[in-house]
Amino acid sequence: MADSKATTPARPYGLVGLYDNVDALLAAARRVRDAGFTNWDAHTPFPVHGIDKAMGIKATFLPWITLTMGLCGLAFGIFGQWWVNAKGYAFLISGKPMWSLPANIPVAFEVIIAFSAFTTFFGMLALNRLPRFSHPLHRLDAFARVTSDRFAVVIESGDPRFDAGQVRGLLAIGSESVVECPADDSRASLPGWLHGIAAIATCLTLIPLAMAYRGRHSTSQKPRYAVWTDMSFQRKVKPQQTIDITVGGVPLFADGRGARVQVPGTIAVGQPFDDMELRYGVQVNAASPVGLEPGASGVPDAPWLTGFPAALTVDSAFLDRGEQRFGIYCSVCHGVRGDGLGSVALRAKDIRGARWGWIDPKNLQASATVLRKNGELFHIAGHGISTMKGYAAQIPAEDRWAIVAWVRALQASQAIDSKRAPEGDYRELPIGLLEFTQGGR
């Protein structure tokens, strides 16, 4: 060996003793252990019973890593579920407690197992410094049988006690053969151009993420792009569209128009355009405010009606209707008292909805709303303002007026200073308000 060392400039990786049975391997391992080598190993096709002691391998601390990560999994599983269901998105189910441990044990258990198992696998790889695709032993033909039916003891030339002649003699006892494993001087790293491609590809993957980030912090007027339309776009005929529906081979409408023209010789009665007061909230003879650019107050400047349309009778039944409709359509955002503290508003505040462009529902008792004319309120109820949508499609005009009346009632009653008002006055409040003021709804 001394000769070969002199002739080849590179030192070999080490010497490999090959054995064909377990006994010879164990004996060799003991001899190498007792000779005091440190940079050496035994390679076997299966874990050999007793090799740990023969080689003096110390117990791995992998179980402790797994235990630690398992406990982290426990903490994460419990804390995560608590945060998600008892804190971040608390919602009541069948009156059960917001947080009760038994219901959360199964998922916590699975999280522990998942954490521990992944840690064990990747911990095993890390402790063994795997994957390692380029190893000098892989280049040695004689070593290929070690994963099938041969056993090897390898002493590396890097060992402080390495002496080629002595090591060869030590390994030879009971061995099939002793071979030298040359050092691996091949290039181990990937070619440089691959790094360039990887860098560009990595940057490209950031583009979708950046677009998603931008999307979350901006608003858009365009309809969302839908891969699956769900029910956003439905097969139906709209007034300005043509239709080609046939019934039994005959077109449904010969002219193919979606909107039907008036039947000849008839007169339209009761069209919703006849009463400007009732339908648009503006004075008679004024133009329709619909389609006008909104002014500074959020609604177009128009000769708004200050009272109620002549066509309606404002009485207690009308107010009752307004209370009920308000409770259905408006209170979820504006609150049953119109104070802007409905459950949606509270939830939006909770999740900081303003991040996504949400504008808090108005306090209807505030002076800005009080000062608006009835027609303006009616217009807003039908056509919306800021992030509030228009409810014209859901609430008929008469009911929108009833809601306006109820809002006025709320403004009148809620503005009462309860300290100055005598106790008995509460019983004289507008219809139904008593329940509200006592938290009955």
């Binding site: 390679h43 874990p47 050999v48 199964p106 258990f109 197992i113 795997l130």
Partner: protein, 492 residues
């Protein structure tokens, strides 16, 4: 090795102190490697005709599954026979069926490993593969059953613009966690066990591509004893983790039913009953796959009749557990005194779906009783038939549970008879195409038997048993920790 106990005269194989012969015939490490590695090493051009025929069939059936799923997703879940009140129908029956089959693999790998059942080494690899493929089939069904599958990610607790989170108090969400954890842990367990064998294939390969692919997946494994030490410990930990996991998964699946209030579902016996059923069906599927495979690949010396015998005993035992659960359900319905519960069970056995109930009872309780006979346990035709009827019976068990209970719920006005559509049937048959395609690819390209583990249970793997040099026998060094507990003291 002494085959009989000199004092008590126990017959061979019955003395717990003597290592039973697990690998038969004149085999050594070399022949075991050749037998097992020879299967994936066959050149692709020379692939067996039978394999190609089976593969073509499986891929065709898989294609049918693809068509059914595309039709379903494009049209909506109305293409199924699910109705009100049987909203769950076949998709959930199939889910529970497949996830049950997926229990034998990890049971064999983990539970039998911890209990030192060395015979597991012959079948654990293929059973684990079966587990993974069965769980893939299982996961598909609830995945498409949610309807709008493009929002199936709502099941995962991901931050979203709605600031909404899943409900962790729902058993359905527990199920998402249980099945996905089970799948990933089983995959890790399977893959980690395969790394040394992939290294064997790498080192034996003569083809550049095979060497590169097997090389990449074997992670540079060299068989180092220092690596084996950590690996063995990791394997033990994974087995210890997988054992409670495998028991938990079907318990959680049973919670989907038991936590509800539907009569016939709302019973505390469900978790153990479901786990026993899962092991039962899993072992049946292992037998169904293993008996043809061992014949086809000539692995009779590794997967021996003794292995089949042992699995038949497990099959019979779990079958009787399941039968016991059937009886307990009736007893509890009577003893509990709840009329709805009583109606549900009488309706199961004698109502509209009586035929399903009695198919279930015959297949799961009556037929496995044949295995009391050792002769029948070793008759491969009988074993094959019983394993197949068990699979059928276990599918009907899930059908009985899901459909009979839902179709007769609390509101008689909504009672309806459930009939599947052709999409239901083709999707279910198609799932077998998916399963068999994956399984055929596995047996063709991956080591079918855990070579390194089989080698450990061979006598030559232990000091003092080799034909050569007894120099090692002088020391008592065998007592170091290893995963195989077999006695060392008897070797001298």
């Amino acid at each position: 090795m002494v085959a009989t106990d000199p004092i008590h005269g126990l017959p061979a194989g019955q003395d717990p102190r003597v290592r039973p012969t697990l690998v038969e015939g004149q085999n050594n490490f070399t022949t075991v490697t050749q037998m097992v590695a020879g299967i994936p090493e066959q050149p692709v051009a020379k692939t067996d005709k039978l394999w190609i025929a089976l593969f073509a069939l499986s891929v065709s059936v898989l294609g049918m599954l693809g068509i059914c799923l595309a039709y379903l997703i494009h049209t909506g879940v109305g293409v199924w026979g699910n109705n009100n009140p049987v909203f769950w129908g076949w998709p959930i029956v199939n889910f529970v069926f497949w996830v049950g089959i997926g229990h034998a693999g990890t049971l064999i790998s983990a539970v039998l490993y911890l209990t030192r059942q060395n015979w597991r080494t012959a079948v654990n690899r293929s059973a684990e593969a079966m587990t993974i493929f069965a769980v893939i089939c299982a996961g598909m069904f609830p995945g498409v059953h949610v309807g709008r599958i493009w929002v199936a990610y709502w099941l995962a607790p991901l931050p979203n613009q709605m600031s909404m989170w899943p409900n962790f108090r729902s058993p359905l969400l527990w199920d998402v966690f249980a099945v996905s954890t089970y799948f990933s842990v089983s995959l890790i367990f399977w893959y980690m066990g395969m790394v040394p064998d992939l290294a064997t294939l790498r080192d034996r390969s003569t083809n550049k591509w095979r060497r590169a692919i097997y090389g990449a997946f074997s992670l540079g494994w060299t068989g180092s004893s220092r690596h084996w030490h950590v690996y063995e410990r990791a394997y033990l930990i994974l087995a210890s983790l997988a054992t409670p996991l495998v028991l938990s998964v079907h318990s959680v699946v049973s919670f989907d039913f038991a936590v509800s209030q539907v009569p016939g579902w709302h019973t505390t016996v469900f978790p153990p009953y479901f786990v026993a059923g899962a092991i039962f069906s899993g072992f049946a599927m292992v037998l169904t796959l293993m008996i043809p495979a061992r014949k086809y690949f000539n692995l009779g010396h590794i997967i021996t009749l003794t292995h089949i015998d042992v699995m038949c005993r497990i099959l019979m035992a779990t079958g009787m557990l399941v039968g016991y659960a059937y009886m307990v359900e009736f007893f509890m319905a009577w003893y509990g005194g709840v009329m709805y519960e009583q109606f549900a069970f009488v309706n199961r056995a004698f109502g509209n779906y009586w035929w399903a109930y009695w198919i279930m009872v015959s297949c799961n309780v009556i037929f496995p009783q044949l295995f009391w006979s050792r002769k029948l346990r070793r008759n491969l035709v009988v074993v094959m038939l019983v394993s197949i009827t068990t699979n059928i019976g276990m599918w009907f068990e899930r059908f009985v549970i899901v459909v009979t209970s839902l179709s007769r719920d609390f509101l008689p006005s909504s009672w309806a008879y459930f009939s599947p559509t052709w999409v239901d049937m083709c999707t279910f048959i198609g799932s077998f195409g998916l399963f068999l395609t994956l399984f055929l690819l596995f047996i063709r390209f991956l080591p079918f038997v855990a070579m390194s583990e089989v080698k450990i249970v061979m006598p030559a793997a232990h000091a003092g048993h080799g034909d050569h040099g007894h120099s090692a026998a002088q020391s008592g060094a065998h007592n170091g920790e290893t995963r195989h507990s077999t006695e060392t003291g008897h070797h001298g």
